[in-house]
């Protein structure tokens, strides 16, 4: 793999504005708000178990929640303060839907956030990615330890994803420019943990400064590959194909092909964790759009979006707020939403940057969508099937292979919301399937309950009948001769059994003696 040229992506789009909006300045450390609402939830919808109580003082880096199972990680306080409450708050990465959070009143609001190592008091016996709270920062938010331990088959190829092909985003770029050494430390540690054969660091071609930063510090054994900025080249499966030539179907994971891919921001967090036992309590967020001071901010988890907008100097006439990039991101329902591990960018929209969408027109069968689809689907065909409620047809045509990249919607001259329709339909299908499974289980349990009640009733009836019969027998067999006869029978039986036992014993003792003689 190492010596072969990169494979060509099936398709994709070159976004006009890919780099124009990216900010090349240094990372700005955001100040702390008065209250942090630290999210407890991981990407797998499981929640860490809080280990603090309201009113308790916490130190920066102190553990405030324990992992409640293998799918969660420990959560730490990003700053010193007092725990106010534990409750539900809107989460930015879920477009403002609520999730469990611990609210901390910050002791020194308006002071800059500082990364802190794990507080000495909660050093666990065994430091691990789970106890340090490491989750993926590439938007997925999967706990890192799940991708390292117990992975089968062995990982041969490690891909470090620094492509960042999405428009507006430059959070990974800023990290690579400023913290190449920590990222390299993270990569080396991952290499030893996974025992990989090939390690590739993929960086977008539009990031010469990041590439230059790595060229100075990259040790042997890590190959740097420059990826042309073709959207969505940074998607994990697309990147894996480009680097290894291995096509990975939507139904299978990268791991099952011996490939593992980490986002550079995740690797940076791993690097900080192993170098300084630092807990993961912040991330870089690209703040852009209708703001006076756009840039890449280091933001403590739990910071409300409204605080960030204030920091970046929001300009008047915002039409909405976008979390993530404009191709796949979501508009935020409320600016009270808090930043968690999955929020890569916060973009304030206005009429000039994001003009109102033209109304949808009929599909003219121009075929542009099919030409740009990186999965080589026929989006217009899927769209027609879904319009005609032919969900099965859409599924056979690969609806579930769609990666929801939004390339088709972007080029469609009729402004048909192809990608969002696919996404919503997929979720509806998944929900319907889950509801059906739950119903089937409920039917089974109900039927078993009916059976159990019936059986219990029958058994009870039988027990009562047996009892009655026994009483009857006692009553009828109370005369002496019958009792004597029964006793004799039992005695005879016992004698027979004893004789059998003796014979068996004799045979057993005889047998081993035979070979000796």
């Amino acid at each position: 793999m190492v010596n072969r040229p990169p494979y060509r992506m099936a398709a994709g789009i070159r976004l006009a504005d890919n780099t124009a909006q990216a900010h090349r300045g240094p990372i700005i450390t955001a100040t702390l708000p008065t209250c942090l609402h630290v999210p407890l939830q991981t990407a797998l919808s499981e929640t860490a178990r809080s280990c603090v109580v309201p009113g308790q003082q916490v130190q920066a880096g102190q553990k405030i929640a324990d992992a409640s199972g293998p799918n969660t990680v420990a959560i730490h306080a990003p700053a010193a303060g007092t725990v106010l409450s534990i409750g539900k708050q809107a989460l930015a990465e879920l477009a403002g839907q609520p999730g469990w959070c611990i609210t901390i009143e910050v002791a020194n609001p308006s002071s800059p956030y500082q990364a802190t190592p794990l507080a000495a008091s909660d050093k666990p016996d065994h430091l691990s990615l789970q106890t340090l709270g490491l989750v993926g920062l590439g938007g997925g938010g999967l706990p890192c330890h799940l991708r390292l331990h117990g992975v089968t088959p062995p990982i041969k190829t490690l891909i470090i994803n620094g492509v960042e092909c999405e428009p507006w985003l430059s959070c990974d770029d800023s990290l690579m420019r400023e913290h190449a050494d920590e990222i390299v430390a993270g990569i080396r540690w991952l290499q030893t943990q996974l025992d990989t054969e090939h390690t590739t660091l993929a960086i977008g071609q539009d990031k010469p400064a990041a590439q230059a930063a790595f060229k100075a510090v990259l040790p042997a054994g890590i190959q740097l590959v420059s990826i042309p900025p073709l959207y969505p080249a940074g998607e994990d499966r697309q990147l894996a194909y480009r680097l290894t030539g291995q096509e990975i179907p939507a139904s299978q994971s990268l791991e099952s092909f011996g490939i593992q891919s980490f986002n550079v921001a995740t690797v940076h967090a791993i690097g900080c964790a192993i170098l300084r036992a630092e807990t993961l309590t912040s991330r870089i967020v690209t703040i852009a759009g209708n703001v006076a001071r756009p840039g890449n901010y280091r933001v403590a988890f739990g910071t409300p979006v409204s605080h960030l907008l204030q920091l970046a100097g929001e300009q008047p006439h915002s039409t909405g707020y976008l979390v993530g990039n404009p191709m796949t991101g979501e508009t935020l329902a409320t600016t009270d939403a808090v930043i968690g591990a999955g929020a890569q960018a916060l973009i304030a929209m206005n009429q000039t940057l994001f003009p109102t969408t033209e109304p949808t027109r009929d599909c003219i069968r121009c075929g542009e969508c099919a030409e740009v689809c990186p999965i080589r689907l026929q989006p217009m065909q899927l769209w027609h099937s879904l319009n005609q409620q032919a969900i099965d047809q859409a599924q056979t045509d690969g609806l579930f292979d769609c990666i929801e990249c939004g390339a088709c919607s972007y080029v469609c001259p009729s402004r048909i919301p192809l990608a969002s329709t696919f996404r919503v339909t997929k979720q509806e299908i998944v929900q319907a399937t889950e509801a059906q499974q739950a119903a089937d289980k409920a039917r089974q349990r109900h039927e078993f309950r009916q059976f159990r009640l019936e059986r219990d009733k029958q058994e009870k009836a039988e027990r009562l009948a047996a009892k009655a019969a026994a009483k009857h027998e006692v009553a009828t067999a109370s005369s002496d001769p019958a009792d004597a006869e029964r006793a004799a029978k039992i005695k005879a039986a016992m004698e027979r059994a004893a004789a059998k036992r003796a014979a068996a014993q004799a045979a057993a003792t005889d047998k081993p003696a035979e070979p000796k003689s």
């Binding site: 992506m9 994709g12 006009a16 504005d17 979501e330 996404r423 889950e434 039917r443 109900h446 309950r449």
Partner: protein, 194 residues
């Protein structure tokens, strides 16, 4: 002459060969599975909440009543309009609005026992149609959330009123509805395709 014959023979051979291939690759007609009894087909589309709101002892008896023509298709509140549409499609009838005398359609909620108040009377266990409550006499009871169908049958029997219906917690699947935002494109630079 023999040349022509040879060509004809070759063509015939080819035709036979291809024909045989076609026969082989054409999918065999699959035996259709035996049709289930109507009541069972109806039961399969009912929500299985087992709440008895339809006026029957559970989903199955209601299904049987529909199959016999004794009950209408709009009596199941948990199924709602979607459930009625499914029944209508199955039975080849027109969908109709839910008969609200049986109850309103509302999102599924799960039972929660206030464990500090529970006196261990076991009445809720006896009421639960899907055995979703765990506990024993004079000991605390609790709801197994993954099995609860939200039928609310356990709420009324509780003598200390410690069972409430709450919104299901975390794993509600996220429904993200997002548009692809038209990004401002610089004059004259239509995104060129790769």
């Amino acid at each position: 002459m023999s040349g022509l014959l040879l060509i004809a023979l070759i063509l015939l051979g080819l035709a036979l060969l291809l024909g045989a291939r076609q026969l082989k690759t054409r999918p065999r007609p699959q035996p259709t599975p035996p049709e289930l009894p109507l009541a069972e087909q109806i039961d399969a589309v009912l929500p299985q909440t087992q709440c008895t709101q339809c006026g029957y002892k559970g989903c199955r008896p209601y299904a049987e009543a529909i199959a016999k023509g004794e009950a209408d298709i709009n009596q199941c509140p948990p199924g709602g309009d979607e459930g009625i549409a499914k029944l209508a499609a199955l039975l080849g009838r027109d969908p109709k609005p839910l008969d609200t005398s049986h109850g309103e359609h509302k999102p599924k909620r799960l039972a929660l026992i206030d464990e500090s108040v529970c006196i261990g009377c076991t009445l809720c266990i006896q009421a639960c149609p899907v055995d979703a409550i765990l506990g024993s006499a004079k000991h605390m009871h609790t709801v197994i959330r993954s099995e609860c169908t939200g039928c609310e049958l356990c709420v009324a029997p509780c003598p200390v009123d410690c069972i409430s219906m709450v919104d299901p917690d975390a794993p509600v699947k996220i429904r993200r509805r997002y548009p692809v935002f038209p990004i401002k494109i610089q004059a004259g630079s239509r995104p060129d395709r790769a």
